[in-house]
């Protein structure tokens, strides 16, 4: 097997097939080669040693997985809701729609808040990206992107730029180039770097100025649908979730997959970190949301109810992390008590699927984007 060290790769013609795509530098017997990910796989399959096959590697993988579960199981003492038994039950929350933003002509697929706590950007299926002042309901800016299904949009930290990406495989003025649709994008702590996730199964970190690929992250075996940056002191990790039912935690510097969680039974649509950075939540098509503790390295809570049948497409935490807002394909937003595992309330109002929920930076409001062409702000 070859020595796989993934360092900062570049974009260019593959040395094997000649097609331009994000390249991976790998070393074989101390020689550096630049292949695209497809050719690397082909080569890897060819490079199997005698006695090995894809099936045998798979088996080895499964047995390692089992060992992993055993180790995790030894540390399992108690569930989160048992620890939370002592704290008082949440009172009824009086959350209502305070603003309805109308203006998109088609399904609104994504939104993001600006750091100034009142502006937001939203993108929709018809290729329009609109910047709103949520407070006054005014549209400040509108951009037409030459592609449909703009699935990802993000506001830059300084508030001076927005990034968006979708079916044209690019993110914003071709900063990022993937070989399949861009499902999620976010700025890192500055305006100068963008992290993207894509239908081609990879995530990538890009330099905005030069459009250069700084780091690529491979490990998902299917489309990556969502990612989130960790709010930690060192600020070096992020989590991604995809159609392979896995949520992976990555180190941004080295490109390595640090942790992996697989407990959903269906595609993971969205991942979001807990405010302290020690845990994250995921929303999936199996109609559950799950809470994973990074230090315990396992799932510690499942948020589900028999009457909740439709898949969850998006999640976000309230400022204190006590509430989890999840948007579902049955047009509702369920508010879960993170610690007790129960549903605190349900928000009706949208007339089609909720595609994205985001709590504002200072925690004063929740914004939801929906396929019914509107956005709603709740408080």
């Amino acid at each position: 097997m070859c020595d796989q060290t993934f360092m900062a790769a570049t974009f260019g013609p593959c040395e094997s097939c000649g097609k331009p795509s994000p390249l991976m530098n790998i070393y074989i017997k101390n020689e550096a080669i630049n292949y695209c990910s497809f050719c690397v796989e082909l080569m890897a399959c060819q490079g199997l040693q005698s006695g090995e096959s894809v099936a045998s590697l798979k088996r080895e993988c499964e047995s390692l997985k089992k060992k992993l579960e055993e180790e995790r199981g030894k540390l399992n003492d108690v569930e989160l809701h048992q620890v939370a038994d002592k704290i008082e039950v949440l009172g009824a929350l009086a959350i209502k729609t305070r603003r309805v933003l109308k203006g998109h002509g088609n399904k609104v697929l994504c939104m993001d808040w600006c750091k100034d706590k009142r502006r937001l950007v939203s993108s929709s299926q018809d290729g329009k990206v609109i910047v709103w002042d949520g407070f006054t309901l005014s549209k400040e800016n509108g951009i037409s992107v030459p592609c449909t299904w703009v699935m990802a949009c993000a506001y830059a930290p300084t508030g001076c730029a927005v990034a968006c990406g979708g079916l044209d495989n690019k993110c914003s003025k071709a900063v990022a180039m993937h070989t399949n649709y861009v499902s999620g994008c976010t700025f890192t702590n500055s305006d100068n770097q963008i992290l993207t996730s894509s239908g081609d199964g990879s995530c990538a970190l890009w330099d905005v100025e030069s459009g250069q690929l700084l780091q690529s992250f491979h490990g998902h075996t299917a489309d990556v649908l969502s990612l989130d940056l960790a709010p930690s002191e060192t600020g070096n990790t992020f989590v991604s979730g995809g159609c392979d039912k896995k949520a992976n935690v990555w180190d941004m510097r080295s490109g390595q997959n640090i942790q992996s969680f697989e407990s959903h039974v269906s595609d993971i649509n969205c991942v979001k970190y807990y405010p302290s950075g020690d845990a994250f939540a995921s929303a999936s098509d199996d109609a559950t949301c799950r809470f994973y503790d990074l230090r315990a390295d396992r799932e510690v809570a499942v948020y589900q109810k028999d009457s909740v049948i439709f898949g969850a497409s998006t999640v976000d935490f309230s400022l204190s992390g006590r509430l989890l807002f999840a948007g579902y394909n049955d047009y509702t937003i369920n508010v879960w008590d993170v610690l007790k595992g129960t549903r605190s309330s349900i928000l009706f109002g949208h007339e089609n699927r909720v595609s994205r929920v985001r709590v504002s930076p200072d925690g004063t409001a929740l914004c939801s984007a929906s396929w019914d062409h509107t956005l709603r702000i709740w408080a």
């Binding site: 003492d77 929350l93 770097q193 491979h218 302290s276």
Partner: protein, 456 residues
């Protein structure tokens, strides 16, 4: 690039999961013991057996799923929308009414999940039947589709018409009640699979995602497994770890506006932006909650512009301000433009690391050597180790002392606790919502003001 194998028939996986769950509900509803009580419903002059009212459905869902009426109506509405329950009175309107309107369970033969993909031939036969049975019974859009189909599958048209006639003849021999039922069943099925223009399409599922049975899984997961098993070095009991979440939520509860409200009022509710003005980046006097938050963690202090300012003032008194300056300069390298990395690294070396530098920072010799080596080939992360060292130095040493200092304590006592806005006498008077300068505009303004300020 992926080696994909699409699922059979291209069904979206999420649709199947939803349908399976709905079918479970339907089966539970028809359970002989715990299911719904069905009775004969009178429809004009005919009596239809095994029917139930809208109200019955809602009551059953409320009881069995422990939900309130609104949610039950919402859930029941989906069962109708997806064709698992169909209305007898207004067959064209797939809506659940919480009253005495009669409904029936759809036969599994017509379940959306069992009959996929929908066949054009079947639709043609259905439309032909309607046309033959009563001229003018077809709606406008159905007429259009009928003629389109006529052109498209013209070669089988004789078969279509023959089938339609046969089915009509067979149905005439059945009792009226059965005929009505079959007609409603079929109508509901086609309303879902061929919705009229403008009606919401229940089967609209968004962008297709290829099935996950790819053969991409060769070496990556193996690497991942090895990495994962290495990180399990914990010996801490899960209990201790989870208590952290309880503690965190309790600590931040008062700061969570959605849970506890905020003072003086939540701008989104009262239309009053006082809360934002009081908590702007740099204010003469900050609010109490904000100053309290600085004591929660070092990161909270550093991420607040005012907090950083205060901390800098404190460090200057202690003659260790160069630490914070160094940390800030390193942050600028990590998050700044790639083109400026080299010059910024040089600046840092000159100011903070070179022997005899004006603001020399105290790093241990090992880290210093490593950093100096790295500076020879500067890159984005070359300062990481040194930055981490100084960060933890400040966190363990200066930060706790700052929290005990007079500077912090006086700030805490000076801090404002805003009055809660009394609900106005005329609650329906809407305040004027003023716009605020956009961040992009503010950046422009500061840029244009720059040279002018220098000329003063």
């Amino acid at each position: 690039m992926t080696i994909n194998t699409l699922a059979k028939g291209g069904w979206h996986r999420e649709q199947m999961t939803c349908f399976q769950k709905m079918e479970k509900v339907i089966v539970a509803m028809q359970d002989p013991d715990m299911g719904m009580k069905m009775r004969n419903q009178r429809l004009l002059i005919t009596v239809i057996p095994h029917a139930m009212t809208g109200k019955d459905i809602i009551d059953w869902l409320m009881q069995n799923y422990n939900i309130n009426e609104e949610e039950s109506l919402h859930l029941g509405g989906f069962l109708v929308q997806y064709g698992y329950i169909y209305p007898l009175k207004e067959p064209r309107c797939l809506v659940l009414r919480p009253d005495e309107s009669p409904y029936r369970f759809q036969t599994p033969y017509f379940w959306t999940s069992t009959r996929w993909p929908v066949s054009e031939l079947d639709y043609a036969i259905f439309l032909a039947k309607k046309n033959i049975r009563k001229q003018g019974e077809l709606m406008e859009y159905e007429k259009e589709r009928y003629s389109v189909l006529h052109k498209r599958i013209n070669h089988t048209w004789d078969f279509v018409v023959m089938q339609a006639r046969e089915q009509l003849r067979a149905s005439k021999q059945r009792r009226k009640a059965d005929r009505i039922v079959t007609e409603c069943q079929e109508q509901a099925y086609w309303l879902i699979n061929r919705p009229p223009p403008g009606a919401p399409n229940a089967l609209d599922m968004g962008l297709e995602r290829p099935s996950s049975c790819t053969t991409r899984m060769t070496l990556w997961p193996l690497n991942a497994m090895i990495c994962c098993s290495n990180t399990i070095i914990l010996s801490v009991r899960a209990y201790v770890l989870m208590c952290r979440f309880v503690k965190y939520s309790e600590q931040y509860q008062n700061h969570d506006p959605i849970m506890q409200g905020c003072l003086p009022s939540n701008p989104w509710i009262s239309d009053d932006t006082a809360h934002w003005t009081m908590n702007a980046a740099l204010v003469p006097i900050p609010t109490r909650l904000r100053v309290e938050r600085w004591s929660f963690s070092f990161m909270e202090l550093l991420s607040d512009a005012m907090g950083r300012q205060e901390f800098m003032m404190y460090l200057e008194k202690e003659f260790s301000a160069e630490n914070l300056c160094f940390w800030q300069a390193c942050e600028e390298i990590r998050h700044g433009e790639s083109s400026k990395i080299v010059e910024k690294v040089e600046e840092i070396y000159k100011n903070f690391l070179a022997p005899g530098a004006a603001r020399w920072v105290n790093i241990d010799s090992k880290t210093m050597d490593k950093t100096l080596e790295g500076i020879k080939h500067p890159h984005r992360f070359v300062m990481d180790d040194a930055q981490m060292h100084i960060y933890f130095l400040m966190k363990k040493d200066s930060y706790p002392r700052y929290l005990k200092s007079d500077l912090y304590k006086s700030m805490l006592s000076k801090a404002i606790v805003p009055q809660e806005t009394k609900k106005s006498v005329f609650p329906f008077v809407r305040r004027q919502r003023h716009s605020s300068p956009s961040p992009a505009q503010a950046a422009e303004d500061s840029r244009s003001k720059g040279p002018q300020a220098g000329s003063d």
